[in-house]
Subunit: 346 residues, 3 copies
């Protein structure tokens, strides 16, 4: 067989599901329905795009049972086409191999323990007593602070900084520019000046956490900042000191979370949302983009606080009343009273 691709029969043997249509169809890459070319396999994860099955040039598609009859294209039928596609894509697009060993241009502190199977690239700095686990890939220009411990299979893209005394779990991914364990924003006001409060807690990152580019996670002031297993953080998120984020929670880009807030498991937080400090967010909460959460949320559910946009003239005309809502409410109450009096008088 041509090893530049795989037959559908081989794919279902590996990943499950069944083939409808020609099981000897060969594919070598995943693609969207819209842009797929010959020898590519697309997926239909949402029935509302079913019409694209009619026009796609994909050689094969991945569909749910409900969509199996919607096309004659050779197809893999499975329970969850989107995760099936994810697994197949990972198989067809393996990560580049990084050779084990320490580049001579890396600088390694005294007492650091680096697994012989780890890859330490050029321009990396690893502090005293740090521990780097098996199979880790630490790319060019990363800086790992003293006594920080990193588990197995963790991958730091170029220019990630982890401060001293932090802990990263297994199979963590951190993208370029991420900063983990920087000082929290803590100071006391004394005699007209700020006095810095040493930030002596740690940042603890669980297993299977992904951290986006230029995301920042501060270390704790006294106790630790904790990101639990399988948390997914997009780019440019700011997580302040002593925040705790529960397992499997996903947070989109540009979110800011203030100090000492606790977020539950299985939460989903939209882009550019904000959460004030010292709050508690229940498990399973969804927060809309651009929403500020200003008090704790005790119940699972979806929460929003977005000012709707409109054409600027309309916005100006309407928004000018926001400073008079209290007056409007009073006038409505007065109208109701007067009307009631009038009706009684009649």
């Amino acid at each position: 067989m041509d090893r530049t691709g795989y037959r559908l029969a081989e794919i279902v043997a590996r990943f499950g599901g069944r083939v409808d249509g020609d099981a000897s169809t060969v594919v070598d890459q995943v693609a969207t329905l819209d842009s797929a070319r010959s020898k590519q396999i697309a997926f239909l994860a949402n029935s509302k795009y079913r019409k694209q099955l009619e026009t796609t040039r994909a050689s094969a598609v991945i569909v749910a049972g409900a969509d199996a009859a919607a096309t004659a294209i050779p197809r893999i039928v499975c329970a969850n086409p989107y995760s099936y596609f994810a697994r197949l894509s990972a198989f067809l697009n393996p990560l580049p191999a990084f050779t084990a060993g320490i580049h001579p241009g890396a600088v390694i502190g005294a007492g650091a323990q680096i697994s012989p199977t780890a890859h330490i690239a050029e321009q990396v700095s690893i502090g005293e007593g740090a521990v780097i686990g098996a199979g880790c890939v630490i790319m060019s220009g990363c800086s790992i602070g003293a006594h920080t411990t990193i588990g197995e299979g963790t991958r730091l893209y170029p220019r990630v900084v982890v401060y001293h005394d932090c802990v990263l779990g297994n199979n963590v991914i951190a993208h370029s520019g991420a900063v983990i364990g920087s000082d929290g924003f803590g100071m006391a006001w004394e005699n007209g000046c700020w006095l810095k409060i040493p930030q002596i807690g740690r940042a603890i990152i669980g297993n299977d956490v992904e951290i986006g580019a230029n995301t920042t996670i501060d270390r704790g002031a006294l106790d630790d900042t904790v990101i639990e297993d399988d948390v997914k953080l997009d780019n440019q998120i700011q997580i302040a000191h002593n925040v705790r984020i529960g397992a499997h929670t996903a947070i989109a880009g540009c979110v800011g979370i203030a100090g000492s807030t606790t977020i539950g498991c299985y939460c989903r937080i939209g882009g550019s949302a904000g959460i004030l400090g010292h709050l508690s967010i229940a498990d399973g909460v969804e927060i809309s983009s651009f929403t500020l959460i200003s008090k704790s949320i005790r119940e699972k559910g979806t929460y929003s606080g977005i000012y709707p946009f409109s054409e600027k003239d309309g916005w100006l005309k309407n928004a000018s009343h926001l400073r008079h809502l209290d007056d409007m409410a009073t006038r409505i109450r007065n109208l109701e009273k007067e009307l009631e009096a009038l009706k009684r008088r009649d």
Copy 2:
């Protein structure tokens, strides 16, 4: 002539316009009307600052025809004083020269093609098969991924990261901490855990694009993320996977753009605005700062969605009614009906 400066006559010979007043006046630097000193040339780009002509100590000014008679200071009269000033400033403040060649402390991957006229500074890492064009300046600590291609005259400030397989055009400028081509935020939910979706698209950056400090541009999930020619991005902008931004669009700081959104040409987006995913924004759209765009915009125009600030007590009093607007609307409708009934009864 004193080569520490230029006579107005020389300047108009080079850049056009005419001189009113003494054309032998020498200037050696640009400045604002407010802070200009002797031998400096200021500009009046907006007639509302015309009063500053009376007090400026500039030796010369750049003005539009309409303002030519507003001062006796030697002046260059031209159609667009602001762009004239930009050109003159670039002439008076040339970029420092960077010597061609590769610093011995840089690490260059196998098969990389680096133009002999490019400058590759210390602590730079260039991946296998990357291509760096003529006249590029790659400053200290930049990391260029494998098989990434960079055109001519592009300038990367210290600590820029470009991931593998990306494309940057000619005369791109990227400021420190910018990250181009990081993984998009893509994962599938399966059995209570997240499954990473390989991000196999690229980030494609056109010619003459400027990218601000700590701005992040994710690579595409399957297809590419595309930033067209002459797009200008300020600092700390987040551009998610598969976004497309049309030519000549300018975006201010801290804006977040979610995945698969397409933005037209000639748009202007204010600071800290947000745009949700899978939307389409027409050419020539202006979006106010701090506005969330939650649906597609089909018409050129200016769009806003800002909650007006006020003194906190007033804000509290008014904002408390926002959770009762629907009730207020119902009560107004009821009042209208009852009043109508009352009037009919009379």
Copy 3:
């Protein structure tokens, strides 16, 4: 005495206050009331947490006079327990020592003046003519531009970038990924294209300023961007060109400040707030999180502009009326008129 800790008597001899209870009690670390263990000293900075005094396992506590009788635990009584704690924590948690000298892997430009007591780590790049003062700590991978001057005792964490010709004062702290002196977002529109305006001002950072991780401070376009003494900036803040921030002002994470705005002294700005350009904010102003300041503030006070969040269904129902507020106001006015007419008629 056991040098792994200090008696309360020794502590008050050094930092003031008085001991109530056993002054020979030994402590070796600070902690929160909640998590303190034996030999740790906690603090009560806010009487509302007084109940925690009953359950804490701390060996000693720091309290204000008003709370001195609220516990029998050995205690230090002082005027400002929070700043007392800050000073004591700094004493118990001294910064790690960095040996003076220049790492052989650093690259130092011609004519740079580096104090013999400064620490210059590996992978640092220092430009021509730069000046690094006594006792500075420049950690791995920092890049300092040509002719930039840094005062005494300043500490740059790994991968900080300072562009050319900037000035940092004494005892500045900048965290990883901070970028100081990048080009402001300045361009002129000419014939359908953008023309870059050279950014020839500087970024001037005063003494005792702290700059958070991935915060960006642009250099001035013509005049300088200025951050005055004792300003405290959290992570991921964006400060545009020609901004001036007054002494002792503190700004929380993710704030964006547009160009040429002046902020007074002693201000406090909440997370993710925004301030438009060319505004002036008085001394002592407090701005709530997530608030956009769209005009100058002349009076000290607290200012807010947050859309309150709610459960999504309720939000949808209420927010839909925001585009009809002007209509609602008109209808209320009409109702008032008609009711008045009706009353007059009776």
